[in-house]
Amino acid sequence: MTLDNDILDAIKSLFPRYPTRRAVVLPALHVVQERLGWVPPAAVVEIARLLELAPAEVQDALSFYGFFKQDRPLGRARIWVCRSLSCAARGGEDLLAHLCARLGIRPGQTTPDGRATLEVAECLGACEQAPAVLVNQTLHGNMTKEKIDALVDALE
């Protein structure tokens, strides 16, 4: 089993919120990606079994959202760099290029040591703090190359 009992229980605890099992697909995918760092194909089959769906139904939803990863686990830090207009107008694209060079990876890739996954974000909704970066669950606003370097240095 790819999903242990803790994960299964976390998913089952969401059942009372919805009148259908299928509505738990997105929350379940979030639980799995958060705990495992990715959603391996075997997990899709197990989620489907739990939700009384065909694996294709889960995979269909999953594949729509570029958010869930299936090829390998995410890095320990998932770094989203906003490139939408407000950030781009204040240097967001330069920050992204700087981070690519600093980490040696392109958007969508993970560093070989598993420290970081770099992503481009379509508007983080932090336009008043542009340019903005989201690192896991923490927003960092008014970024500069120096601040980004400090963030990268602090990665575990």
Partner: protein, 460 residues
């Protein structure tokens, strides 16, 4: 701008403004207590209808009218969805409201559920807002403990629970039927309408979808009355029988090339230039503005000469934009190339098109490729005509797509070409002099061996 008492943002500056005790000390849940004790659901609906409240999510549809489309004697369940998938580039005030004053939004949600007889509400919150998620979950827990949520709220016959449903970074989930599909556990493909959600929505039940700020407004309408709400803003245009007016306070935002990016509250109808100068410190570096996006990327562009446009639901439309949108302005200074605006916009919509409708899927992609070609110094004058053709032929308005995403993609193109064509022509003339005079046939886009449609950086 007339004297004005901010209400939507009143709690945001208070220490611990997100906590129940602070909210209650400022009069919070007073409206809910009174409504449950004194008003029938139809009375609440009637107050919202007469207030003239229009949806703050972008389209400006009258909220009371939307609610009145629910079937009158439906046995239930009826669902209320709170649209907190604020993904329109430039827009952030829903995040500020949820982070800083979640109870205001929750009170409005409970009141709206009471008015619509909804028994369950789902807050569709975009993934990118982790602090808002934490604040909202904490506030909901406070409400359950205090008896504002759950069975028999405040001793009344009304029961409701609110659950947060977290998105997964897809813009189209902000379209109300895309949002519904996403909650149901499917890909967020917008539905063909009719049936509209009020008749057949979430789990095939009658459903209302309202924006976060709209629901916050409901709290104050019930607390202070519809006459108070109508005393703020812009009355209907007497020469236009289809204009319901723009009433109430609005939470505006300003970002981009301004001295003090941020949010602020003002009456609907304040002039764009006044808002930028008074609340955002004016254009940065002593420069002039070249253009302002009035309310999120899809609304298009106001040129500098149009900045006295009133920021109500009708103003930006008169200036040739899609509409007021979210009222979150993006200021571009006189040095910023319109081509970069156009490229950024086309890239966004090409990335976010869900792919269901061919005009949108293909149109947004080709518009991006045309921008790429012009940026690469290989632009031709005819490329501008091709872009204009795409802008005029995709979307609900020409009747070629299911949802409004393509409209949103089209307006930035239309406005950039309509208002700044000279600048774009000049760019092509200077970067590709031989191509400038070239019209047909189209070369350099042969199908065999062409570049990938989006490079890795753009795909993300």
């Amino acid at each position: 701008m007339p004297d004005f008492e901010p209400v939507l943002t009143a709690n945001l500056a208070k220490p611990d403004g997100h906590r129940l005790a602070v909210y209650e000390a400022g009069g919070g849940y007073r409206a809910l207590r009174r409504a449950l004790a004194e008003l029938a659901p139809k009375d609440v609906l009637e107050q919202v209808r007469t207030s003239g409240l229009r949806g703050r999510g972008g389209a400006g549809f009258p909220t009371g009218l939307k609610w009145s489309f629910l079937p009158a004697d439906h046995p239930g369940p009826i669902y209320l969805c709170v649209n907190a998938d604020e993904s329109e580039p430039g827009t952030f005030v829903n995040r500020v409201l949820i982070e800083g004053d979640p109870h205001q939004v929750i009170e409005g949600t409970i009141l709206s559920a009471y008015a619509t007889r909804a028994s369950t509400a789902y807050v569709y919150l975009r993934y990118e807002y982790p602090l808002a998620l934490a604040r909202l979950e904490a506030a909901l827990a406070e409400c359950r403990a205090a008896g504002y949520l759950g069975r028999n709220i405040l001793g009344s016959a009304f029961s409701l629970d609110i659950f947060v449903h977290r998105g997964a970074a897809a813009y189209v989930c902000g379209e109300e039927t895309g949002l519904i599909e996403s909650i149901e556990g499917k890909r967020a493909w917008p539905r063909i309408k009719p049936p509209f959600p009020a008749v057949e929505g979430l789990f095939r039940r009658p459903t209302v979808v309202n924006n976060v700020e709209t629901l916050a407004c409901v709290t104050h309408i019930i607390d202070r009355g519809p006459a108070w709400f109508r005393s703020i803003g812009v009355p209907p245009d007497p020469t236009n029988p289809r204009d319901p007016g723009s009433f109430g306070p609005k939470m505006y935002g300003a970002s981009g090339h301004v001295n003090r990016p941020g949010w602020f509250e003002a009456p609907l109808g304040a002039a764009c230039r006044e808002l930028i100068d008074r609340f955002a410190g004016g254009v940065w570096k002593g420069r002039r503005a070249k253009a302002v996006v009035p309310g999120g990327l899809s609304t298009g562009l106001l040129a500098e000469s149009e900045l006295d446009t009133p920021m109500d639901f009708a103003g930006p439309v008169r200036a040739g934009c899609l509409g007021l949108g979210t009222g979150c302005m993006i200021v571009l200074d006189e040095t910023y190339p319109i081509l970069e605006f156009l490229y950024n916009s086309c890239r966004f919509f090409a990335h976010e098109s869900c792919g269901q409708c061919t005009p949108c899927r293909e149109g947004t992609q080709w518009a991006l490729e045309l921008c790429q070609r012009i940026r690469a110094g290989r632009g031709r004058l005819v490329d501008l005509d091709l872009l204009a053709e795409i802008g005029d032929s995709i979307g609900i308005m020409p009747g070629t797509t299911i949802c409004g995403l393509a409209d949103g993609a089209a307006w930035p193109i239309k406005n950039a070409l309509g208002k700044f064509r000279d600048e774009l022509e000049e760019h092509i003339r200077t970067t590709n002099p031989s191509g400038f005079g070239q019209t047909e046939p189209v070369e350099a886009m042969e199908f065999a061996g062409r570049e990938p449609r989006m490079n890795a950086d753009e795909r993300g």
